[in-house]
């Protein structure tokens, strides 16, 4: 999670480091555009390996950004992943914080 910014802190110090990691950013952006998905769908769409996705998903769950529901469809287990409200807000804040920085770098 982000720490409070200092008076002359670098703009990047405000960036949420949970969101900032490339793999987690990919996962969050994928979950942001859908309602929910199971593990396999996110894996297929992001191209991450099982271990990598599982580990990042645990971090995101610990941060309260992703909710994980386990259920059964018939006899098959299904792990449904969903962005929480705070996860959605964190992603929006991240994008809002990064945009001006990237705009300046683009000039």
């Amino acid at each position: 999670m982000s720490e409070p910014s200092q008076p002359h802190a670098h703009p990047l110090s405000d960036i949420d480091r949970v969101v900032h990691a490339p793999a987690r950013l990919i996962i969050l952006s994928q979950l942001y555009v859908i309602e929910s998905a199971d593990f396999l769908f996110i894996q297929q769409q992001t191209g991450l390996t099982q271990g990598n996705l599982s580990s990042h998903m645990s971090n995101l769950e610990a941060a309260g950004y992703v909710a994980i529901e386990k259920s059964f469809v018939g006899k098959r287990p299904r792990t449904l992943l969903r962005l929480t409200d705070s996860g959605r807000k964190a992603f929006q804040t991240y994008v809002a914080n990064m945009r001006p920085l990237l705009d300046v770098l683009g000039d």
Partner: protein
């Protein structure tokens, strides 16, 4: 989605749901059903196909598609767009079907010239909702299917072919296209070997 990259991600997720060819196969079967109606007495067939199509699609998706690419619940905005598109296409279909039934009931008094054009009329009546549905649901190939139906209807009319040949031709082509898409999908997405470990 206001961001183009996010919109593209959302579109990719949506395409994963509609690009497996199953809907195309069901559409083709429905066209063949309509063809059978005009050549036989089984006039309830399209209604039967319409009623079983959606549950069948869901069943096939959960047994054939989801073990390969997983399950996704689309975003609320996409779902409402799909619902609106489906409602409009169905309304158009029922409106045109009523018009077609009225035409069939009145065909005795409409004269032989209108009857000569029946293959084109049927293609238009079925093709317009299919094209509209394809356009509204961002499945552009369905617009191509509708054009194919019209071309087949014209071909039937110009060559004086047997009744419903155009529907059989276009229905078979749509089924073939769906089967091609499904085969390509199955080839590109094998079932992951260790499904049980796909867990967090």
């Amino acid at each position: 989605m206001e961001n183009p990259q996010l919109s593209e991600l959302e579109r990719r997720a949506y395409r994963a749901v509609v690009d497996d060819g199953l809907l195309d196969i069901l559409l083709g079967i429905m066209l063949l059903g309509f063809g059978l109606v005009t050549t036989t007495d089984v006039d309830y067939l399209p209604a039967v196909i319409l009623v079983i199509a959606f549950p069948l699609w869901r069943r096939l998706r959960s047994t054939l598609i989801e073990p390969r690419i997983g399950h996704v619940g689309l975003h609320a905005s996409r779902m409402s767009k799909i619902r609106r598109g489906k409602r409009k296409a169905m309304a158009l279909f029922f409106l045109l079907t009523i018009a077609l039934i009225a035409f069939i009931l009145l065909k005795g008094s409409l004269g032989s010239q209108s009857m000569d054009l029946r293959s084109i009329i049927v293609a238009v009546v079925l093709g317009i909702p299919i094209a509209a549905g394809g356009f509204l649901l961002e499945m552009k190939r369905w617009v191509a299917y509708a054009l194919l139906m019209l071309a087949a209807g014209i071909f039937e009319h110009v060559n004086g072919l047997a009744n419903a040949t155009g529907l059989f031709l276009s229905g078979s082509a749509v089924v073939a296209s769906g089967l091609f898409l499904l085969a390509r999908f199955l080839y590109r997405h094998p079932v992951p070997p260790n499904e049980a470990s796909l867990d967090v």
